[in-house]
Symmetry: C2
């Protein structure tokens, strides 16, 4: 191949558009075949139909597995299955690893057992472990029985860790060497390999018990004179992980120390696996709080059925309706006050809404601070004071503005004062809740992003209405 430069994102979008165009033409022809009954056209149409698919198939053949995965994710279900069937069976496993969980499920649903067994059989132990939770049980046991003893043990070991433990992302493929040989020996040893495991930027130096003594980067292997020994040249200080470390912590460490790969050790300092930067990038991508903050159970397939999507978003929505109902009952308790002064109904959503917004700003910063490990008991108090200070400033500023507007609109000074006071108080509530909810979640060992948003708006809505209408009841009636 002489095609040196392969443009990336641009070409993926282009390729996606080309695939969509071919699929559209294919569908058109299919529609025509179905509609017309004249037999003499049949053959021609079928040929054209086949030709589009063949063109598509050639196009897919040239694409990287990750690109095919992205294209599958961007297609609605029927087109997705058409493309999926065109992919060569040998590539099924790699592509299944690349697609999102939701899309993987939709693809596996349409494969029969022997296809899945064939696809899974081509994977490494750690890859198989990634796929395992989505596989039907009889398929998994059939694949497992086809493995060698070592590999089976590796899959079982990987499956024994929880999803947020380093062990679940561990790679078993790695190169280990001894400290007492020369670099020349290492180079000769490596030349016997067809290939090195992905993202190999260093070799692990172990003793006869597989206990880690140091790491030899390919860089040092190349830069140093071949007659020097591994022990002289290797780095003895390095970043290592335990299998039960949290994956977020590992990802933070990869980011902080610019790592490409790092060894995973057991309690006896023995190397049991390896972490690589590509998996850590995925962790960082998935860490993005936006999805959980918005109340989605998990990343959703863009084209999953309406039912599935509703199920994914349902629990959160139900919870939201409960808290909205609660806030509504708070207002209900003040109906007499509102009947007395309808302006209150007009102004109250401002107090609750601004509370929700400022609280979300505070909470987002705190969640980010927690994720980056920047918040300890020692500085939490200081943060609370700072956020309360900002809330006071904003409350006084915007409370005055809105109080003034309320006064101008309804010609009642007390109404303006109630508006201002309610703003000041509710922003204090918002700041406190915005800090305390994620901190409490963290202390309880839970993901601070998860559910915080619902608790926050529940508080700022209910308290906003309560403070505003309560003050109004005391001072205006």
């Amino acid at each position: 191949m002489t095609d040196v430069s392969r443009k990336t994102q641009e070409s993926l979008q282009d390729t996606l558009l080309q695939v969509q165009r071919l699929l559209a033409r294919h569908k058109l022809v299919e529609g025509m075949v179905h509609r017309q009954d004249m037999p003499r056209h049949d053959l021609v149409e079928k040929l054209v139909h086949k030709q589009h698919l063949a063109e598509l198939s050639v196009k897919l053949e040239r694409l990287h597995a990750a690109d095919i995965a992205k294209i599958l994710e961007a297609l609605p279900q029927p087109e997705r299955l058409t493309v999926w069937e065109l992919v060569r069976a040998e590539r099924d496993g790699d592509i299944l690893l690349e697609v999102s969980d939701a899309v993987r499920e939709s693809l596996l649903e349409h494969m029969d057992s022997h296809e899945i067994v064939a696809a899974a059989g081509r994977l490494d132990a750690d890859e198989l472990a990634d796929l395992a939770p989505d596989l039907p049980e009889h398929v998994l046991s059939e694949v497992m029985s086809g493995l060698g003893e070592d590999e089976r043990a590796q899959v079982q070991s990987a499956l024994s860790y929880r999803e947020n433990e380093v062990g679940s992302l561990m790679d078993f493929d790695m190169v280990t060497i001894r400290a007492d040989v020369t670099l020349a020996t290492v180079l000769r040893y490596l030349r016997r390999f067809q290939n090195l495991p992905k993202n190999t930027d260093k070799l692990f130096v172990v003793d006869r018990n597989r206990s880690l003594k140091g790491v030899l980067s390919l860089k040092r292997l190349i830069l140093n004179a071949p007659q020097r020994s591994v022990g002289e040249v290797m780095a003895r200080e390095m970043v290592t992980f335990s299998a039960d470390d949290h994956v977020d912590d590992a990802a933070n460490a990869f980011e902080r120390y610019d790592l490409v790969s790092a060894p995973v050790l057991d309690s006896n300092q023995r190397v049991i696996g390896r972490l690589t930067v590509d998996d850590m990038v995925d962790v960082i991508r998935d860490e993005s709080d936006a999805l959980t903050l918005a109340g989605l159970m998990k990343g959703e397939d863009l084209f999953s059925s309406i039912w599935k999507s509703a199920k994914n978003r349902g629990p959160w929505l139900a919870l939201n309706i409960c808290t909205a109902f609660l806030a509504s009952r708070v207002i209900g308790a003040f109906e007499a006050t509102i009947a007395h002064l309808v302006a209150l109904a007009t102004l109250m959503p401002i107090v609750s809404g601004i509370g929700g917004n400022t609280g979300t700003q505070t909470m987002t910063l705190i969640i980010r601070g927690i994720a980056l490990g920047q918040i300890t008991g020692a500085n939490a108090k200081r943060l609370i004071l700072k956020e309360l200070g900002i809330a006071l400033l904003n409350g006084l500023l915007w409370g005055s503005v809105l109080g003034l507007i309320a006064w101008l609109l309804y010609h009642q000074v007390p109404l303006g004062l109630v508006m201002m006071s309610a703003m000041v108080l509710n922003l204090q509530v918002a700041a406190l809740v915005g800090i305390l909810v994620p901190l409490t979640m963290q202390r309880l060992g839970r993901d601070p992003a998860y559910g915080s948003s619902v608790l926050l708006t529940a508080s700022t809505d209910s308290m906003g209405f309560f403070i505003f209408l309560g003050l109004a009841t005391i001072f205006l009636t």
Copy 2:
């Protein structure tokens, strides 16, 4: 050093706690020195005081620059400056590169010109370009005048790109080789280097015009027989970037193809720089939409002054207050209806609130889809239909539930029906706005996450009140 395993996150948290403890003790002593005037104690106190700082200084000496950066970020301003002054001047530059923009500003404020010049003078061209926007002008020009011609040109080239262009993250340090030499020659050539540029996993093969012909991974360099030529062994198909590519697209490509480094080419296929995975990890981390969705202008220093934070969050808050006021005026237009039936004031926040929540769910998925390049003109229509379908399902389901509750609470069947219809209609509005706002933002070439949230709640609030109170005015009065 024999300390093989350096635990990461755990030790960072531990170290942070230790630093905080030393700082607290240091402050305590400082306070005592100030309070008591007996001169004979003075010397002793000063010694103790100095001892804590010395201990801290030794601790800092042992830490990675990235760890010191994290510790600085987690400390309030006075403690941060104490630690910053203890750091050896030679490390200032590296640490300034690692801290967040907001913290960097706070540190630079407290350095004098010659300290900044010294720190900046130790950096590479691309690192200097990263720092440049934060440096006082006379400092930058002094540093620039101290550079060689090549390096000055590199800094100027890096500064000429916008923040979201690949050129701004480009690294100028790289190893290029010719295709017609043998691997043995390459190995001999490399051994003359003291070190290779960070994240060097491949060498760039160029002709005499610096035009890229292929890449030679260290892996292939090591695995192949030394007498083979570079041209035989190198990969000709590879991922390359242009300096004006969008950094998000580059980060997506690094993620998709599991890259560690990749060449940046000009329009004549000449290598002008290099992208590395560590910068891409930062891009992915910063891409997280949570901050912009929450209405923060940029990542904020946890311990920035109340004024600075208020300024950072202010513009969004002001916009929110405008939209909240608008929604409030919509309610104001229906005051007569509310005076007639106060229950409406109680129920209306439910309609607007649920609309906001479901709309945010839709919008978050769409923004993510756009970020991953999964949404094209061809599938947008389908997405709209799907989201409207889910909204209809949820509207009918939860509208019925809430309608029933409204009926039970207020014994009015028409009120229940108005509640249900308003829920159905407002969820349709929410779904439409949730899709169309980010798609329109994207078509206008803007960041779809930015400002979408405000537009969404503005619509769901105002429309929610309008639909609910409008229906009530027609059918209940």
